[in-house]
């Protein structure tokens, strides 16, 4: 298995599993890979679509408590299958500092590797907390893409 060609899995990656190799794109088009998660706690926020109402609310809420995530040594990243330019525009519209990562091409490859690709072609609404050793500490998939997981769930996971 090489970077960018990760396996497809049907269920969300679980606590205790190592993060697979993956390649996402930052806003500037540069690659964001597994090794970019090393050495710090990360929270990957997979969401269905930039500019959609629930995703707006979700990232706005997490932005409001971003200092508290930072105080716990956690870095948040938004992940969706939108392209990098769309994600840049979305982030700027929200005024959020949460970095957005694009899973645009090959579409959804990272989502599939994490087991959070919705059959209709977008990321499930899911959260994955990754430890500094690139092992998953906690994961959660919302019952439906319309359900917005509270920030409290992430704080619970970070406190464990």
């Amino acid at each position: 298995m090489s970077a960018g060609t990760a396996e497809v899995r049907e269920t969300i990656i679980a606590a205790g599993e190592p993060v697979p190799e993956f390649t996402l794109r930052r806003e500037d088009g540069t690659k964001f890979r597994r090794e970019d998660l090393e050495g710090k706690t990360s929270v990957l926020v997979f969401y269905p679509a930039a500019f959609s109402p629930v995703c707006n609310e979700q990232l706005s809420l997490y932005q409001e408590v971003l200092d508290e995530f930072t105080a716990r040594g956690a870095t948040l990243y938004g992940v969706s299958v939108d392209n990098a330019w769309s994600l840049k525009a979305f982030r700027e519209k929200l005024g959020t500092e949460i970095e957005q990562l694009s899973d645009f091409e090959p579409k959804g490859a990272t989502c599939r590797a994490f087991g959070v690709y919705h059959p209709r072609g977008f990321a499930q609404r899911a959260l994955v907390v990754v430890g500094p050793d690139c092992v998953v500490k906690w994961s959660y998939q919302a019952p439906s893409p319309a359900d917005l997981p509270g920030a409290n769930l992430i704080f619970d996971a970070l406190s464990e």
């Binding site: 609310e57 706005s60 932005q63 716990r72 509270g150 920030a151 409290n152 704080f155």
Partner: protein
Amino acid sequence: MSELRSAAVPPLSDSDHVRGPGDAPLLIEYADFECPFCGALEVQLADAVVRRVFRHFPVRSSHPRAWAAACAAEAAALQGRFWEMHESLFADQARLEDPHLWERARRLGLDVARFDDDRRSEAVRERVRRDFESGVRAGVVTTPTVFAGSTVHSGSIAASDLSVL
């Protein structure tokens, strides 16, 4: 660093803003003054016989003036006029800039200079933040969110849901 792990919604306390008959059903509402669905809920609940608790849940990137409006309401509360400011803000949610807030304070007969100092004070910010954090811990993700007994309603609230309240 604040405690933000999951916790039940705090029960009514002396520091809450509450109104309505003591024997009416209790609604604990997390809302913000710039949120249109919260404004709609105000209208929907206008004639309801309920005991309402109002708690702040401002989220800046959705509603840029929600924090300022929440702090204005708390500054009015320090002069005993929380609900009057609450009504003033919901009656016209499009005018929340500083001059609008001063004008509202003046019309309510507040000491405007004191109001302006208070709304920028750390104590008022902490008061708003305390409400917000209690909402985060209780899993509030959007406004309005209304806790009524063991049920929770959030977002745009249908008339059928209100009849249950």
